[in-house]
Symmetry: C2
Subunit: 282 residues, 2 copies
């Protein structure tokens, strides 16, 4: 293995590493917030890296983008207004806008450069950016939520980087309280929640913070994500009201294409592994 031919992300906590073979480096810059790199890989299409962590590849981003959006959108009775905190690659925005009930989807990523690079290197993720229902803001998502009016949003999707650096505040009780305050009656937060194999403690702290902020109905979903640590990722939905009403018929008859998500996969993602149930007394 000649290191110069590969991009490698080392995971210090787990003492493992994941590498993608690269054809060439397409771009590198220090933005106002983080270090951004784009590679052309041999087998995974283009790859965006933020502060040394793999963020999105052409080949496998569909798992993550579909699973952080459709389960929540098909659980809420009628989602009209969605905010995406982070999500600068625009892949989540594209999935959200596939739902015809959506009247407004606002993407709030602090770093405009992520989106500008996505437009160049992941144009397929940015296909819906000019949808009249879409709005892109490049401001602090934590402040946006804090300043928001009550009753102003149905679903807040936290499509963030890992809880270090700019995204740290997105995993806190204070942030979830602010979310609680601006969510509508059946409102919910969806948070990308790392790997249950590697980050169980973090997931527990996040679930506690959500509950204590009044978002007491929780669902953690599990799905593959090859380029993320352990290859097995999760998202957690937190709501002020019951999450039991999955609109299964709507999901089964969805009028749009997906590559991973379907009604069966939705229910499957909610199955809780034995060690996870024991860890959280589920």
């Amino acid at each position: 293995m000649n290191p110069s031919d590969w991009f490698t992300e080392e995971l210090p906590g787990a003492d493992s590493a994941f590498s993608l073979k690269i054809k060439k480096k397409l771009h590198g810059e220090q933005s106002a917030f983080q270090f951004l790199e784009i590679y052309e890989t041999e087998g995974f299409g283009n790859l965006m890296v933020i502060d040394g962590c793999t963020m999105v590849s052409t080949r496998d981003n569909f798992f993550y983008h579909e699973m952080i959006s459709h389960p929540a959108l098909f659980t809420h009775p009628e989602p009209k207004r969605v905010w995406i905190i982070g999500g600068g690659d625009c892949g989540t925005l594209k999935e959200v806008l596939k739902h015809s009930s959506i009247e407004q989807a606002i993407q709030i990523d602090i770093d405009e450069r992520v989106t500008r690079l996505a437009e160049i290197y992941f144009p397929e993720l940015c296909e819906s950016n000019s949808d009249p229902r879409a709005e892109l803001k490049f401001i602090d998502g934590i402040k946006w939520v804090k300043d928001a009016e009550p009753n102003s949003v149905d679903i807040i999707i936290v499509d963030s980087t890992d809880p270090v650096g700019p995204a740290e505040g997105l995993f806190s009780k204070a942030f979830y309280q602010d979310c609680f305050n601006c969510l509508t009656e059946h409102g919910m937060v969806v948070q990308q929640s790392e790997s249950a194999l590697l980050h169980l403690k973090l997931i527990g702290e996040m679930r506690d913070a959500m509950s204590s902020a009044g978002l007491g109905y929780l669902q953690t979903l599990f799905f593959p994500q090859c380029i993320y640590p352990s290859g097995w990722w999760s998202a957690t939905i937190a709501s002020k009201s019951s999450l039991a009403n999955f609109r299964e018929l709507d999901a089964a008859n969805k009028p749009f294409d997906t590559r991973y998500y379907n009604a069966d996969i939705h229910k499957a993602a909610l199955a809780q592994p034995e060690f996870f149930k024991k860890a959280f007394s589920l």
Copy 2:
């Protein structure tokens, strides 16, 4: 990344690589069949490597061993006789023997050295080797199945290495025909079937070979397996009769512990991703 501190498996087809940081190399030998290595890792316990491919780690083997055994065993109406082809680390044997209906479980691995090393470096996987129902044979599993009497086994679990080298014949129509001939009425084969993200063509060829050998009822199950390519693995159950009768109540009330598997996870593993359904017209 100092290469000498890491064990790295490169996956040429997918142009990705997975690495585990090592404390030290505990063992290395060329057996009569393959090159065997054992490492002590920083974060994953011990690691067995065969011909350069990660096989089993202390930390995450439970996903694979539970998912290659319990779904089939809780689908068969009353499994009494099980053969494990390969499986020399004995982890699958241990899971099979948790089922009280089992009268005989024979592990047939061509390479005795795999088991001898597992006894030293993965003793927890070998805990049931002295169970009176267990039998360990170190002979060619393909020949064993070919020479077997009709009606002599309920479940054949093919817990093999990748379909190159010694395990290549285990993915062939000829082998599945031999399985068909010695299986009982509700008999089934369970085959580890690689990654649906990386090896879809192989899975298709295997499913075709199974069907054309008379094992026409198929279920492909999906589960995480961090140290295997893409982190997302599969097993395929192939039977001569319907697989619809999951003994869900028995699984929900199983009198033994597992770490990943439970009745909900069983059903979840059977959910077919959208791209998989399309690939095989499911």
